[in-house]
């Protein structure tokens, strides 16, 4: 059998042929033993493959997996251009004097005596080759900052059966 015939027999097995061509292949499969054997082998593999798609679970907890997706979505959003420059320009004109006044007040009150209070927990990467992801586990009171080296393959690190009360901050 030549290659073209073999591929046509396969196409017939896969239901890709119709009409006269399909009838010709059906006749060949039943009339010629070599063709019949090939068709049997192809069908055997097809049947074996049915339902052989092994289900797999993501080897990371729901929260950890989502935290990385959310982080990417947010960084993509921040890169998007501002769509209403007119509105932003107006807000800037309104806010700048207020911001200046607020800053001056803070400096007057706190400069000599008290470090400016930092109100947000935040970890950032100061190395371009590193990414950080922070998440909090409320029930165990654990805050985790994961430092990911972008130059290395990203291995899995988190158990699938993680608590549902994890929250992610970045």
């Amino acid at each position: 059998m030549n290659e073209e015939l073999e591929l046509k027999l396969q196409a017939w097995v896969d239901g890709e042929l119709s009409g006269a061509e399909a009838e010709r292949m059906a006749a060949l499969a039943s009339g010629q033993s070599e063709a019949g054997q090939l068709v049997a082998e192809l069908r055997e593999v097809k049947m074996a493959m049915m339902g052989a798609d092994i289900p797999r679970s993501v080897p990371e907890s729901r929260e950890f997996f989502w935290s990385k997706i959310e982080g990417q979505i947010q960084s993509e959003t921040q890169r998007a251009p501002v769509s209403k420059p007119g509105l932003m320009a107006r807000w800037r004109r309104f806010l700048m004097p207020l911001a200046g006044l607020a800053a001056a007040s803070c400096v007057a009150l706190f400069t000599l005596t008290h470090p400016k209070p930092v109100t947000n927990d935040e970890f950032t990467s100061t190395d371009e080759a590193m990414d950080t992801t922070t998440f909090h586990d409320q029930s165990s009171g654990l805050t985790v900052v994961w430092l990911q080296d972008n130059d290395a393959a990203r291995p899995t690190s988190v158990r699938p059966e993680q608590s549902d009360d994890m929250t992610v901050t970045d």
């Binding site: 080897p59 930092v118 970890f123 950032t124 009171g141 654990l142 290395a152 690190s157 158990r159």
Partner: protein, 150 residues
Amino acid sequence: MQLTRPFSLFYLVFLAACPAWASDLTVQAQLVWGANDSQNASYAPVDTGLSAKLHRIYKWNNYFEITNEVKSIPLNESRNFKMSDRCVLKVKNLGDSRIEVSCIGQGKEVSKGSHTLAPAKWLVLGGNAKNDTAWFVGLKAVDPSLAKRQ
């Protein structure tokens, strides 16, 4: 910086109202190694409290304590916690149980952030290591009696 009289008064009132802000913060830093291989006789398992928390989140079967340091950090000052030859944490006491942590790997700062160390709560920094293992540094505010001033 010289304090003028009005600001001195303001500062004293501030201190009187919030005594905790003027105090040292005692911080414990533990370097932990996460691995599936349990044949690491040279390292002891990390204490059960932190181990249980890490087990809840991470996939590794074993967590070994590599180093453990406790230092008292005066307000607005920093102290270095040498975790290994390649890793130093610079921890600054910002007051009110708040710290700023710089993670320095091989002499280069790789991450920086701030965090409030609430009592009995851990801050854990982590990253991957060779052979599908991981390193963690756990930071916690502890009883000052555990520290030696440096």
